[in-house]
């Protein structure tokens, strides 16, 4: 690679990465916790959930419960269980019956508990798990700004990955084995950035590509719809198998409305290894009512499988079916997109590995920012030093302050009483205000070592409190929760204990390197002389030319 191209790529890598760094850090940090979204939710609600791939509920009881509140005739009803929670998602379309009251023509979304068959709506079911999951694509910023922002951040992350690999290409193997923890600060950041960047490369590439697609797929689909489908979006979604042509209403009521459990059981009779994931009913209660049972083969037999059977409810005749063990390109690619991103094709261990890789990515982002900062801590850049330090302090404050803010949120969930009016918005505000306050604090102290240390101490301290508060609130202490079957409660408590232990050890064991900005021992206030010496040692340090 010529010097010209090397320097250009280096520059574009630096500029694009610095611009997206904080947003990308938030995406990866919140996203890493989102791998445990369901565990966190079950921990919050203190519910134990059996991990089975099969939906375990009585569909007819659920329909009865729904019918007690909504008139179902002519509607389509979709019951699915995308998460390992005790409740299932229910989506109702508006009825096709033109004579129905207005109320029945509106679409609805809510949850049904699989033990109590109680109905709850989205707002009152909002959880910390859901909040963190949505934070990781900035859903708190009004739509569509947050979605596009996170989508383009993911796109430029892809750009940073490609340019990063090209820059290191010639020495990619040798620099992987280089780690000089006793060398000067700049070298440590560089070594960590390249080595951890390479370890996480496949993981990061997958998340950049799939993440970009999820958030800004409209950029790909809009020209496809307008040029290949003459603007008919519905036709594209049907061809991709996202929606199905909806059968017409016969206008003859079906009495009695047939039992849904029979269809689910029958699908399992056709294929012994079939796990139902979704039941879709068209034209409920009508002569032309159709029941579509969708599911997958168990992952031991086939990864990324998808199958379905569609029945005509009145005669129980099979209208169409697809064997989950049969491989269809479209279905496999579609499932791969989701499974690769959500890491749901294996158990908890896969998500633990993904969590660690996600946190490693956070480290790669931060070490990149640190390279940028230390490389500019030279006499040549003296004029911009104040600006660079301010940017560095705000960046570090925003990134590192997120950790204690998340720990605080976990504490709040167990402290703020459940029935409080406006409970979730209140806790959300406390979270954001704390985070902002930490950024302001970082900006005021401008001492990178202390910004790091104080964030870790705060997060570690609150992290230890989390299992204690959970124990007090639910009496589900972590040494009791596992035997009593509250696996998720145990997992979240122990996760926080481990994370806090690491945070506290790192905070108190890290010694400032000579010349690194860190408070001077003996509690002595930093004098101007100290600062000058520090600047000198930093300034005169020869900078590694890679």
């Amino acid at each position: 690679m010529s010097n010209r191209i090397y320097n250009i790529l280096f520059h574009t890598h630096t500029v694009s990465s610095i611009v997206i760094s904080v947003a990308l850090y938030v995406i990866f940090f919140a996203g890493s916790f989102s791998f445990f979204r369901d565990e966190i939710i079950n921990w919050e609600r203190n519910q134990s959930v059996d991990r089975v791939d099969e939906m375990s509920l009585d569909f007819d009881l659920a329909i009865d419960s729904i019918q007690s509140r909504y008139a179902l005739y002519g509607r389509s009803v979709t019951i699915s269980q995308p998460h390992a929670e005790r409740r299932v998602n229910v989506r109702l379309s508006g009825t096709k019956d033109t004579l129905a009251v207005e109320e029945a023509k509106a679409a609805r979304f809510f949850y049904v508990d699989t033990k109590t068959y109680e109905i709850t709506d989205y707002e009152s079911s909002y959880t910390l798990g859901e909040f963190l999951y949505r934070l990781h694509f900035f859903a708190q910023i009004p739509y569509p700004v947050g979605y596009y922002l996170s989508g383009f951040v993911a796109f430029f992350f892809l750009f940073a990955i490609i340019t990063g690999v090209l820059i290191h290409w010639r020495k990619i193997i040798s620099s992987f084995y280089v780690f000089r923890p006793w060398a000067k600060l700049k070298t440590i950041w560089t070594d960590a950035h390249t080595a951890l960047g390479l370890i996480g490369l496949p993981f990061q590439l997958v998340y950049a590509v799939t993440g970009t697609f999820f958030m800004i797929k409209l950029l790909l689909l809009a020209p496809v719809v307008s040029l290949l489908y003459d603007g008919d979006k519905g036709q594209l979604y049907q061809e991709l198998g996202h929606t199905h042509p909806s059968p017409t209403l016969s206008s003859q009521k079906l009495t009695p409305a047939t039992d849904i459990n029979w269809f689910v059981a029958d699908a399992n009779r056709i294929w012994p290894d079939f796990n139902t994931t979704r039941v879709h009913i068209d034209n409920y209660g009508d002569g032309n009512m159709q029941v579509r049972v969708e599911g997958e083969a168990s992952t031991e037999n086939k990864l990324l499988s998808h199958g379905h059977v569609t029945y005509l409810a009145s005669t129980k005749a099979v209208l169409s079916k697809k064997d989950p063990l049969e491989t269809v390109y479209l279905d496999t690619v579609k499932s791969a997109l989701n499974s690769l991103h959500f890491a749901d094709y294996a158990g908890l261990s896969l998500r633990l590995v993904s969590f660690v890789l996600g946190i490693i990515t956070c480290f790669v982002i931060l070490s990149g920012v640190m390279i940028w900062l230390t490389a500019r801590d030279k006499k040549k850049y003296e004029g911009r030093k104040k600006f660079n330090t301010n940017v560095g302090a705000i960046y570090l404050g925003a990134c590192l302050g997120l950790y204690p803010a998340v720990a605080l949120f976990f504490c709040l969930v167990k402290v703020v009483p459940a029935g409080l009016e406006g409970r979730f918005p209140l806790m959300g505000n406390v979270f954001f205000v704390f985070w902002l306050a930490y950024i302001v604090y970082a900006y005021v102290i401008k001492d990178f070592g202390r910004i790091n240390k104080h964030a870790l101490v705060l997060a570690g301290g609150m992290g230890v409190l989390i299992p204690i508060l959970n124990g007090i609130q639910t009496n589900q202490w972590f040494w009791r929760s596992l035997p009593s079957g509250h696996r998720d409660s145990f997992f979240v408590d122990v996760l926080w204990l481990v994370l806090s232990a690491i945070a506290l050890v790192v905070a108190f064991k890290t010694k400032a390197k000579a010349g690194q900005q860190e408070s001077v021992p003996n509690g002595r206030k930093k004098t101007i002389a100290d600062k000058t010496v520090m600047r000198k040692t930093l300034g005169e340090r020869p900078v590694l030319m890679d």
């Binding site: 191209i5 320097n7 250009i8 790529l9 590509v209 020209p223 496809v224």
Partner: protein, 93 residues
């Protein structure tokens, strides 16, 4: 360590490269996939595009930065997207 400024492009060249990579690269990626979709199995190409669409676009963005002259890369990208669009047009009429 920061990049050596003597190798970087002038502001007007830089503008040309960024727009070529971002807009031109997008046009090439979309029109190329549309061309494949019209001549091959449509829904398979579209779902594959979920992975390759942004990858190709991003690759072209990187490529645009490597070019010596921004206007030349604009020319290439415009030319390729026009050719692909012609192919799509021929398949549709």
């Amino acid at each position: 360590m920061p990049a050596n400024l003597k190798y970087l492009s002038s502001p007007s060249q830089r503008f040309a490269k960024i727009t070529a990579g971002f807009l031109g690269g997008y046009m090439v990626s979309i029109s190329f996939h549309l061309l494949l979709a019209t001549w091959l199995v449509r829904e398979s190409v579209i779902i594959t595009m979920a992975f390759t669409g942004f990858l190709l676009w991003c690759g072209l963005l990187v490529l645009a930065f490597m070019a010596k002259r921004g206007w030349v890369i604009w020319g290439w990208y415009l030319g390729i997207s026009l050719l692909c669009s012609l192919g799509v047009y021929l398949a549709k009429v």
